[in-house]
Amino acid sequence: MNSSHLRHRITAVATVVVCGLVVWASFAPDTPTGYEFPQVVSLSMLGIAVFLMLLAFKPGARVTGGEEEPVPWGAVWPLLAILFGFLLVSETLGYFVSSAIAFFLIASIYSPGRFSWARVIRVGAITLAFMAALYLIFVVVLNVQVPEGVLF
């Protein structure tokens, strides 16, 4: 069994597990009133997921390339850390400051080439210009009250 087969089967099993959880959540409440439709939907999901798993585990089942692809963790983990870090600190630091930090970090980390101070200054200037435009659009024009933290 090659890695494509393994990934295909893991995906199928994970899908059945997720659908099983959805079915459990739909049938867990004591009073079924208002849960009939979610129950029908969840059972349909489980049925399709089981069928998907049976196809994946069918003896001789063949998997073509590109059905499932590995996650490029090395490339995406810094961005995921920045996004979830933003969620953690934005209410404390304020939306504008944490957004500026996120913008600066994403643009710096993913810039091609080696680190240089010239690049830091360039990314910093673009970050400030972008945040100024955002302030103009959302706060001045659209009158959105964004959360202000300890900084801004």
Binding site: T31, I48, E68, E69, V71, F103, F130, V146
Partner: protein, 508 residues
Amino acid sequence: MELFEYLPQVFSGWNIAILILGTIFGIILGATPGLSPTMAVALLIPFTFQMDATSGLIMLGVVYTATVAGGAVSAILVNIPGAPANIATMLDGHPMARNGRATEALHYCFISSGVGGIIGVLVLILFTPMLVNFALQFGPAELFWTAILGVTVIGSLGSSSVLKGLLAGAFGIWISLVGMNPVSGTERFVFSEHLQGGITIIPALIGLFAIPQILQMVETAKRGRQGTEFAMEQRPIIHSLIYNLKRVRSLTIGSTIGSLVGLIPGAGGQIAGLIAYDQNKKFSRNPEKFGKGEPDGVITSESANNSMVGSSLVPMLSLGVPGSPTAAVLLGGLLIQGLFPGPDLFRDHADVAWTFMGALLVSQVLLVAGGLYLASFSKYVIRIPKQYMAAAVAVLAVFGTYSVQNSFSDVIIMVSLGTMMYFAMRWGFSPGPVVLGIILGPIAENNFLQGQMIAEATVGMGTYFFTGTINIILISFCVVSVVYSIVAEFRIRARRRQDEQTAQGGQA
């Protein structure tokens, strides 16, 4: 005709400004590699909150049509389609650029998009009222089946795997049910305080389309700019205009196929462009020139993908079943303005519906003018580095989501859903069916509950939901779409396996 009654409103100060800015903005967004029309429209929905319903819809509609046309710029200049709808354009557009005819290809792209777009919008204007009158016969059971048909068709036709597409659509329906129990008025599936308001359309739309795309952008950002970019020659627009308008066969094939494919819910511009390209090649006297820089290839595919835009809105405005994933996002924009597609829209908000359609017609003319003007500057747009695009879209997604309800919970839902969707996409699931499930889920449930009450008081559930001509037709469509897609999927798998075996044999 009501269109002429409301046409002057299109030219009122605010609306015409939106049309012009939306066209320019849409072409630039479309030309930027990595920004899809669906994501562009999703990101703009929060801005429509500050506008009246007509202006908001005009902005979303014009950006939809302009981004599809703008996507051809990167397809032609750097061999990377700006949107899936531009894949067929790339086949001849990029060879034209390699042969020193980049400006010419861009001219054909925008002129053909305009011609195809006008035909698509005319189809929208002519067919929508007819379907709306038909929709007057729909009761709760028919509306329930229409919602299910929408999810089934997008799930089966719009995804690489039928089973995964259907699962994604059903999952979208299920998560749309989080929040309030419509029968008892109590909370339902509220596992966290952030879910108390349910999963609303805007955070879902932005999260499902923007976050995976940002993650995809950064996968390759560190490699720098990819694709080969070519110099742009000087060419008078009038020469391109005369040549393009003489290519009647290519324009007719493209516009006709595009309009027909747009009417099929879930098919989308990619299919329209590729089918039209293939058909024009078959009818051509010089099929061997296709793929080597044949202008007819660009003309056909661009007229097809833009005529698809107008006609994909026919089932959306009349029945609430969108013809493409971007039309599904537009449906979300319609619903959050408190407008429901179907007969009510044309009876109670005729001004909104007809002004919107009139604006789409005018936008095609602006698209040609704006596109031809911007063609010479397009090489600068495609140079925007991916890391800045990713950073800008990430911050814009957060601000756009927050601005709708001033809710931090919406931002958490947006980021969480988007991240989950990214991993699901790696495992073969698509965001289109999930979004449509979220939009159509409440419609399906409300009509299911109404139908249940009527059925229990009258003929019973089985008779009420499974008999009657329209119900049987809708159920048949659901079954046919799934069966057809399963057969098609097996054929594609067999062909892929054959190709892989041939390739392995060749290597050995």
